[in-house]
């Protein structure tokens, strides 16, 4: 069993608790134990904090990192926004002495010090890494294959970009989450402008909702165009935008999609035989019933 400090973030526990429970339970079956990171705060949100005051962004993320350093465990997380903050601040502080000294000056007030002794991983990366879990092992863990479903993968921006600071290969035409989806027995469909933003990130959802929904609408259309039955992502904020966003799109533009949206770990949980209620699928804004009917 590999142990990681599980950084929950805000949206998963508050809006999609199923994504949280699914992550813990499915990972355990694949040899990953996600330990609670007690005392963790908001990551903090890269758009909201990072665009206003970088120093606050660095310091808060560093505090979360120090908590994991004290546990002597790498961090695993399930949200692209958290990934951007925690991964990137860790990277920056490790490589920039001046920045690190500045942050440690702030942390001193709460008797903390950033040492740079741990790494930060998105859970999806760990699932894909052959040395940790790997596609084969996931395929073997499947009890209820999602055969006959077409799934559109949304990567999300912060997971893949900026290219220079990421390490998951192609940023324009990646295929690795598709491989993870296909391991569950589903078909992962390619669609137009796959790497486009969900519409939520960078503070756009908070600042200009109609514009943000416009982007989401375009993405959903591109997915419908190729006959997708559901969307999957690895970020609860993208999940919120696609799920909750469909209600708002209906309100604002009068277009109704009813496209079910799943965090990848929710899909993994379904395929491993977890029940919809265990996965909290009833808490989604868009009903997952049509999809469930196809597979269960």
């Amino acid at each position: 069993m590999r142990e990681y400090a599980f950084f929950l973030g805000c949206i998963a526990p508050n809006r999609y608790p199923g994504a949280e429970s699914a992550s813990i339970i499915t990972s355990r079956r694949l040899g990953i134990e996600l330990l609670p990171l007690n005392g963790a705060s908001c990551c903090p949100a890269p758009g909201a904090f990072g665009s206003i005051d970088l120093n606050i962004w660095y310091a808060m993320a560093a505090r979360n990192l120090v908590l994991a350093e004290q546990m002597e465990r790498d961090i695993a997380l399930i949200c692209n926004g958290c990934y951007k903050s925690i991964y990137e601040v860790n990277h920056k502080l490790k490589h920039n002495d001046e920045l690190r000294d500045g942050v440690n000056e702030v942390l001193k007030e709460i008797d903390m010090e950033f040492k740079g002794s741990i790494d930060v991983w998105h859970l999806a990366e760990l699932l894909y890494d052959e040395n940790i879990v790997g596609v084969e092992k996931i395929r073997e863990s499947v009890k209820v294959p999602l055969t006959g479903t077409k799934i559109a993968v949304h990567y999300g921006c912060h997971l893949m970009k900026p290219k220079k600071e990421r390490h998951m290969g192609s940023t324009e035409a990646p295929r690795w989450i598709e491989e993870l989806v296909e391991a569950l027995g589903a078909e992962a469909v390619e669609y137009r402008n796959k790497m486009q933003c969900c519409g939520a990130g960078g503070g756009v959802r908070g600042y200009d909702l109609p514009h943000s929904l416009d982007i989401t609408n375009e993405k959903l259309q591109n997915m419908i165009e190729v006959g997708a039955d559901a969307v999957t992502e690895v970020c609860p904020f993208c999940q919120l935008q696609f799920d909750r966003g469909q209600i708002e799109i209906e309100e604002k533009f009068g277009i109704k999609y009813d496209m079910p949206v799943f965090h990848y770990n929710e899909l993994l949980g379904l395929a491993q035989g977890m029940s919809p209620s265990e996965l909290g699928l009833d808490l989604h804004a868009i009903s997952t019933e049509p999809f469930l009917k196809k597979v269960l």
Partner: protein
């Protein structure tokens, strides 16, 4: 260590009398350095007999003054404090020689490139540095000795590596000048990139029509020894006497001459083409940018020179059907092996050309992911009458004629993201204009969209061509394409770009996009240049001896550059440089002899213990151990020694004397710097 005495000096040492000449170089030096202070200081230095300064020391009056003062002051050495010795050492050596001094009694102090130009705002620091530089140079000059360059005969033959348009032109020029020329080409045919092009800008000549006659000339020229399917394997020697080993790759096919040599009378490949149709293996044809098939035994196209088939061993299954089809000619030998050929040449021209940057690395444009995103070289083949489609431009996805065609300029060029190339690839603007013209001409109603950063139409009649294409109706959008998306159904491609003149983002749906991909040196260039000891610049292009005044030469004497291997170049520039390189390469051959710098090593026999450590260190096998007067001592083969001094830097007994960079001379420079000046 410092008491070593030159093995050549038997007479008692003279008292040195050094003349110091300080150059202002207009204000280039005088602007940052207090010349008077340096001059006054130089007068106080030991062994200095005369000091002068002049506005331009390299000018005729400056040189005349050096000449006169050598005589008037009985100088034994000359120091000029001016620019870099890499620029004017030959000038001042000649002036010293004119004054009756051995030219190797001259020493230069670099107070421009390595002083006044890099300390422009520190007059005091620069002046102190100049004083030290003069002191160091005087210390060396006081110990310099007479040296005599050795003349060696020059082999009356030349070699050109790469048979694209530059290499072919260079080889033809050399051959026409009566010089036997080996033309080495790695591909099965000569012609290079130019033979893949349809039309040339701005004249719209048909590329093949002007190139093919040249190819035929090369094939026919008596003085040209054409070696296709060949690569340079090893190089030894120096200017005048390069021993080059060529690997002639097994083609599996005998030429008529080769067949005759093997006693097959009237046999050998005639290019009849009987073998191709029976070959069961089909592979993509590289010449057609993999858009047409070829067999495992193939020629690229019917106009190849030499007209000989070649076997692609990676795909040949050795079924022997071609051997049967060839019949009596007995041209095919499926067991043929690579052959190593040794040739001796006096001078060499590198013309190894360019290759297209792997533009799929710029993922946002989707090359290799989207069917209808192609490169310019693929466009050339698609629009070319002898190409895979017979000159009908079609979309790869469905074979339809595209009506809206985008051209993305600077695709991977002028790119500082670390993925592309920072330089301008120089001919993409012009050929893209030509492409725009071609589709307007060939496809009624077709519209070219040109996405550009700047249109660089720098050559003769190029700007006029640009205006012409504007008038013909091409749409110019100034902006860098950020993204291209493919419609999964229609396979049309949508280009996302900011029109920086209108200041707004745009989305344009097109039928096809042509990427004007950057160019880079070929992979083999790097290997070849190392064999010849030629440097490259940071971006991999081969480095010329001087960017302005010696663009064809390299720092290796006797090796010259032609064409795009030195940097992206269009056809006229490549040909012009080829003619320049051919002229430069023919000079030593016509002179018949060259002088080698006398910087070779010598053994100080009374100190040599015969340990032989140096023998193994020498990269040129110039050193050996011999018996002399009952002792083992080292002996230098002067013609082999290139003067690197690696042996001299190691000799535990200090028994090696490096001419012009002798241990006492270098130690004198170190001492002069650290002990000689103000502490």
């Amino acid at each position: 260590m410092a008491e070593a005495v030159s093995p050549t000096t038997s007479k008692k040492p003279e008292t040195p009398r050094i003349g110091v000449f300080i150059c202002h170089c207009g204000t280039n030096i005088a602007g940052s350095i207090d010349i008077d202070a340096v001059k006054e200081y130089a007068k106080t230095l030991p062994n200095v007999a005369y000091v002068d300064d002049y506005k331009y020391q390299c000018s005729m009056p400056g040189q005349v003054n050096i000449r006169e003062q050598i005589d008037a002051n009985k100088l034994t050495g000359v120091v000029v404090a001016a620019c870099t010795p890499r620029l004017h050492e030959p000038t001042f050596r000649a002036a010293s020689k004119d004054g009756g001094l051995n030219p190797f009694r001259f020493e230069m102090a670099n107070i421009r490139e390595q002083n006044s130009w890099v300390h422009m705002h520190d007059r005091e620091g620069a002046t102190e540095k100049a004083k030290d530089a003069v002191r160091i140079a005087v210390a060396k000059a006081a110990l310099l000795e007479d040296l005599y360059p050795k003349s060696v005969p020059v082999e009356r033959a030349a070699m050109v590596v790469g048979a694209g348009v530059a290499g072919m032109q260079a080889a033809l020029d050399l051959a026409n000048a009566g010089i036997k020329t080996y033309l080495i080409e790695k591909e099965p045919s000569i012609g290079g990139r130019m033979s893949q092009l349809d039309k040339t800008f701005p004249t719209l000549d048909c590329s093949q029509c002007i190139l093919t006659p040249k190819m035929v000339d090369v094939g026919r020229a008596e003085n040209i020894v054409l070696m296709v399917n060949s690569e340079v394997e090893d190089v030894e020697g120096y200017i005048g006497n390069f021993d080059v080993t060529i690997r002639r790759k097994a083609t599996g096919v005998l030429s008529p001459e080769e067949a005759e040599a093997k006693g097959i009378v009237g046999g050998g490949c005639t290019g009849c083409g009987d073998c191709g149709p029976v070959c069961p293996v089909t592979k993509p044809n590289e010449f057609e940018m993999n858009m047409a098939p070829r067999k495992a035994i193939y020629i690229y196209h019917p106009q190849v020179v030499p007209l000989l088939y070649t076997i692609d061993w990676d795909s040949c299954v050795k079924c022997g059907l071609c051997v049967e089809a060839c019949g009596e000619k007995k041209a095919i030998d499926l067991e043929m092996q690579d052959e190593l050929v040794q040739v001796k040449v006096g001078t060499v021209i590198l013309a190894t050309g360019y290759e297209v940057f792997p533009i799929e690395n710029k993922e946002e444009w989707g090359y290799k992911r989207y069917d209808n995103v192609i490169t310019s070289l693929e466009f050339e083949r698609l629009i070319c009458a002898s190409g895979p489609t017979g000159g009908h431009l079609v979309r790869p996805s469905d074979g339809e004629t595209p009506m809206r065609i985008g051209f993305v300029l600077c695709a991977g060029s002028r790119d500082n993201t670390g993925i592309g190339k920072p330089y301008c690839s120089r001919f993409c603007c012009m050929y893209s204009l030509k492409h725009a013209h071609q589709i307007i001409e060939k496809i009624p109603g077709a519209v070219p969209y040109i996405f550009y950063m700047d249109i660089r139409s720098f050559g003769k009649m190029y700007e006029e061509f640009y205006y012409r294409i504007q008038d013909e109706g091409a749409k110019f959008i100034r902006g860098r394409v950020s993204n291209i998306q493919e419609d999964p159904v229609t396979k049309n491609v949508t280009v996302y770009v900011e029109d920086t003149l209108l200041g707004r983002p745009m989305e344009i749906e097109l039928d096809m996009v042509v990427l004007a991909a950057a160019v880079q040196p070929t992979e083999l260039t790097n290997k070849t240049r190392k064999l010849f000891g030629v440097s490259c610049s940071q971006d991999g292009w081969l480095l010329e001896a001087h960017p302005k005044l010696n663009p064809c030469g390299t720092t290796t004497a006797g090796v010259f550059l032609a064409g795009a291997c030195q940097g992206p170049k269009d056809i006229p520039d490549s040909v012009a440089q080829a003619e320049g390189a051919a002229s430069a390469a023919s000079i030593p051959i016509h002179k018949g002899e060259v002088e080698l710098e006398p910087y070779y090593a010598m053994c100080i026999e009374e100190k040599c213990a015969g340990c032989g450590m140096c023998v193994n260190l020498c990269p040129y096998q110039a050193l050996s151990l011999v018996e002399k007067d009952g002792r083992t001592v080292m002996q230098v083969t002067e013609a082999k020694c290139k003067g690197c001094g690696t042996c001299g830097g190691f000799c535990p007994g200090g028994a090696i004397w490096m001419n012009h960079f002798a241990t006492p001379q270098i130690v004198a420079q170190i001492d002069a710097f650290l002990l000689g000046g103000e502490q």
